[in-house]
Symmetry: C2
Subunit: 217 residues, 2 copies
């Protein structure tokens, strides 16, 4: 079964039964939080979600970085996390929204046509499984929310970036300092500061952090 509907009311009327009560798994991919739900419904949804997660439902939500554009959305994502939903941030936009319920039913949202949002809902095994596989691949490549938020923590200015670059070359401190046109003592001060920012006790550990966080590319 594959149908196209217009507007959220028609979507709910014709497909609500497919998505109302996921039992095992609920997946959602969207650009940001405004895509599927209005602001005033979110708090209630979180409460409901906590109960469902406690009953064994797996909830996975994949958003684009736009979902972290404002503090309200960010807080809501943290709420989702606190009730046990898994949230990841993809490295790219997710302009078309997808919901997969119990791996059996799926909605894809299209564009708005004459004021009504266009949706395709389907229970086609092939379609659902195909998109599910893609979701899974995107999920694997996405960053868990906490990690993504951590990425924001070490804000590194140009001078810091220069130090990181030098550290990544493998040069001794003396050679690196000369390269940057500063004294060894100053360079080492900068390195010590960088280590603090990366919360590392050793250079290897700092390197791992920098590498994992993509700070060296």
């Amino acid at each position: 079964m594959t149908i196209t509907v217009h507007g959220e009311q028609e979507l709910a009327a014709r497909t609500g039964h497919l998505f109302a009560k996921p039992e095992r798994e609920f997946l959602c991919a969207a650009t940001d939080l405004n895509t599927w739900s209005h602001r005033r419904h979110r708090a209630a949804a979180v409460g409901d979600m906590a109960d469902r997660v406690a009953q064994g439902l797996t909830i996975r939500k994949l958003y684009s970085p736009a979902a972290l554009a404002d503090e309200e959305q960010r807080l809501h994502l943290l709420d989702l996390r606190s009730v046990g939903a898994q949230v990841r941030i993809a490295g790219t936009g997710l302009p078309h929204e997808t919901i997969i319920s119990d791996r059996a039913a799926m909605i894809l949202a299209g564009r708005t046509v004459r004021g009504e949002r266009e949706f395709t809902a389907t229970t086609s095994k092939i379609l659902v499984e195909g998109v599910y596989a893609m979701f899974e691949a995107a999920w694997q490549g996405a960053v868990p929310l906490e990690e993504y938020l951590t990425v924001d923590l070490p804000h590194i200015d140009a001078a810091g970036k220069a130090v990181l670059r030098m550290l990544t070359t493998g040069l001794t401190d003396e050679a690196a300092a000369r390269r940057l046109g500063m004294s060894l003592r100053t360079y080492r001060r900068r390195v010590a500061e960088m280590m603090r920012m990366l919360e590392a006790e050793s250079r290897f550990q700092a390197g791992v952090r920098a590498g994992e966080l993509g700070l060296t590319s």
Copy 2:
């Protein structure tokens, strides 16, 4: 238009016109190279591909790590690269195969039913765009082929992994060695070996490499 067909002959007969001549972009996601093409056709396909790429066609192929299971597939992927196709390896299996042609037509392959492979082909804008977005997200999280092959270079055994783990904790060598129940000299030997494998001159550099390559998770 969305149809389900059985077997590759019916697929070609009913949808061949949609996929035969992509003009701008051809996307393919699959577990490995056996999914869409037989071995004897591959070399010819590469030749054809070179011409098309030269004419401006963008070819992107996303495979799972299974595509690198044997040398023949690996060499073929390198051939694809050499003619200008973009190839990336996802971090997860892609059990269902997808082709998107010029962002206008799409095939999803399902399972084999009574000896015939089941396919869904569609030109539905919503479906195509939805899957396209997922493909894009998966693509962003996937590793370019050359990089992935580089990942394979440092094959790290269990002892090496233990050393990496210790290095990542930030402990001094002496503390780490004691933790692993070996002498400082042996630990340092292991560390030196790890540095060689990571091709690093400094510990920071080694850490970056390990972190970027995902060796610490």
